[in-house]
Amino acid sequence: MSNSSKRSNLRVMSAELSLLSRPDGSATLFQGDTCVMSAVYGPGEVRINKEQIDRATVEVIYKPRSGLPGCTEKSQERLIRNTCETVLLSSLHPRSSVSLTVQEMQNSGSLLACCINSMCLALLDSGMSMKCLVAAVHCVLDFEGAVFLDATDKEEKGAQACVTFVFDSVDKNVVMVHAVGKYSVEQFNKCMSVCRTASADIFHFYRETMTKKLKRS
Amino acid sequence: MVDVLLSDAEKTFIIHGIQDNLRDDGRGCEDYRHMEIETDVVSSTSGSAKVRLANTEILVGVKAELGEPSSGKPDKGRLEFFVDCSANATPEFEGRGGEDLALEISNMLTRAYDCPKCLDLGKLCVIKGQQCWVLYVDILLLECGGNLFDAASVAVKAALYNTCIPTVTVSQDEGHVDIELSDDPFDVQHLDVTSAPCIVTLSKIGHSHVVDASQKEEACCLARLMMGVTEKGTVTALKKEGSGSLDPSSVEEMMETGKRVGQALNKSLMEVLCLEEQKGKKKEKTGFLR
């Protein structure tokens, strides 16, 4: 197999902003063959029982490609929402709601990372005030301890551990981690440093995408 | 329960009346309202009955189907109650409104019938552990005029009495089991309901208790005692219902009444059912019209 060699760069990314007309911001992101579409509504009206007096209520709905959402999806949803709450300056819009829909289109690995990146692009597109940007990078460890960046679904299956990091654009600190499998602290740290380096590419990609959007308008 | 609104004075009037053993429709405390019963009213069922108790009207259909016995009782048939509160009876039943009441009635009936001697379910076994008759008893509340539990139990007993189960022959060759249903409409089995229970509801109103409470009386009642009573006077189920409490001595009195009335109810019901059966096919059908 050609991709059994250790891969240290991300798959090709492409994105399209504002594809949808109804939402306030939307983004469709491809990372390799993995594709996720996100849409942002808000800030808008909030249901009375969810109202918070000091900030906007952030709601995320994660839709799997097929079937009903189960525990796994709820877990994903919460990871995305918490990440989103961290970067949004929600205190600027008290007593309102920001709602995000993240729709999985195709999963060929690194799904969670792709979801978070597309969410970040959709927020950018909507012009919402944010503290900083975030970039999600996924990698897997194989049984020899080699790191594969931005793994495909095949690579995920045979992996020793699957790790997703989210870094902020200012200090490159860890906003979110989801790491499962069997690995040592050293391996964890190795993954973290590889992913942190790769996050720069994503931030660069965000910039490119926005430049493209500005040129067109 | 289906609630009606009453003023305090109306309640006082009813409570005092019951103390005097003279209720607002002229009855004494232990009198039932006039009850009319008809069996074999729905031809698509294995047995059916309709009971009208003043303004309370209940239709019961029994459907016998072959099914698997429950794991706890491999050599017995099954009896399953399902109550449906029609929204025609009261708009409160619309949607899921009648669910709680329906569950309460079916639970009480299940409990009252959950005794090995009430109904010989052993007769309903076809092949031990594999096939048995399942009797689905569907109870439909058509109109609510008080005392639903008693009326439902009477209707159930009548419908079971009326139930015909086709005779089955089981042939076995080389481990291959064949079940054959007789298609002769007269080659059927009947159920013996002699020791099946009727439910008697005793409503504590003021310092006395009454049987067969009307809707207005139910609105005055804080605590009821429901009893499943057989013809022999044994008790197959007991339940206190409502938000009030009872004196131990009045519990005893109520049980005494319940037993007495229950036995009489069972006796009259069986007489009526036998009478109707004797008339056989000649009898005049009234169906659903009054």
Binding site: - | F13, G26, D31, Y32, M35, E38
Partner: protein, 292 residues
Amino acid sequence: MAVDIRVAGARERPKPEVSEELNNLVTPGDVITSDTGYLRGHGTYMDDDKLLASVAGVVERVNKLICVKALRTRYNGEVGDVVIGRILQVGMRRWLVETHSKLNSILMLSSVNLPGGELRRRSEEDEKMMRMYLKEGDLISAEVHSVFADGSLSLHTRSLKYGKLGQGTLVQVSPSLIKRRKTHFHNLPCGVSIILGNNGFVWIYPTAMEKTEKTGGYETDLQPVTSADREAIARLRNCVLALAHHRMLLFDTSILYTYEASQKFSAKYIPKPEVMTEIIEIARGRLEREGT
């Protein structure tokens, strides 16, 4: 103790008699007349110059006016009607009252008598005391004061004969069975009084229970009713139901005759179908003979 069960088929069913009223029976869509000279009343509509029925009922003709009176309807209130109603809700300066009409009726705080006499200003205290006067579930007798544009009724009780009802029993029948009379309050010779509300609510109560005027009638007498009165009330209640069951008009004479006819039975047997039929036949015969 009595348990009274029987087979439904065992009851004798009298052949339905053909009354001449039935000749005038129409159902929705029936052409009543194609003459253009008539006026369109309740229960009818015009189409292609023809007058058609919009409800099932009996055609009534008053000069040029044609109405169809439905067999069973909700109460259509008219100003001046006596009604009996049940308080559903206590609201801002008003009570919502159930009178079996299409919409809930309204009783304004300003339309009731308050303790202390006729000429009294409604103070804020009174507003707070509203639930003390009348609370949810209470029964009142009242008169229709006005009909609002949406058809809901405004009631008043500003006469001593109206107000909160005490002990007694309520029977509900179809409003079309209440005969319109000069008075709807009757003291019957058996020691029992009856109020025939135009809305089909019939209130039966012991005559002795007169209201005391000092408290404005808001304090009810909760003393036990005597056995005799109670027996009479029960009998009367069953008679009213029997009359309604046979779709006979309710008014003092019909009720009294039925009551008298029922004497040979114990009160509790009256609801039995054949007893009902027998009593009603006797009363009907007597009414026809006397031509009332």
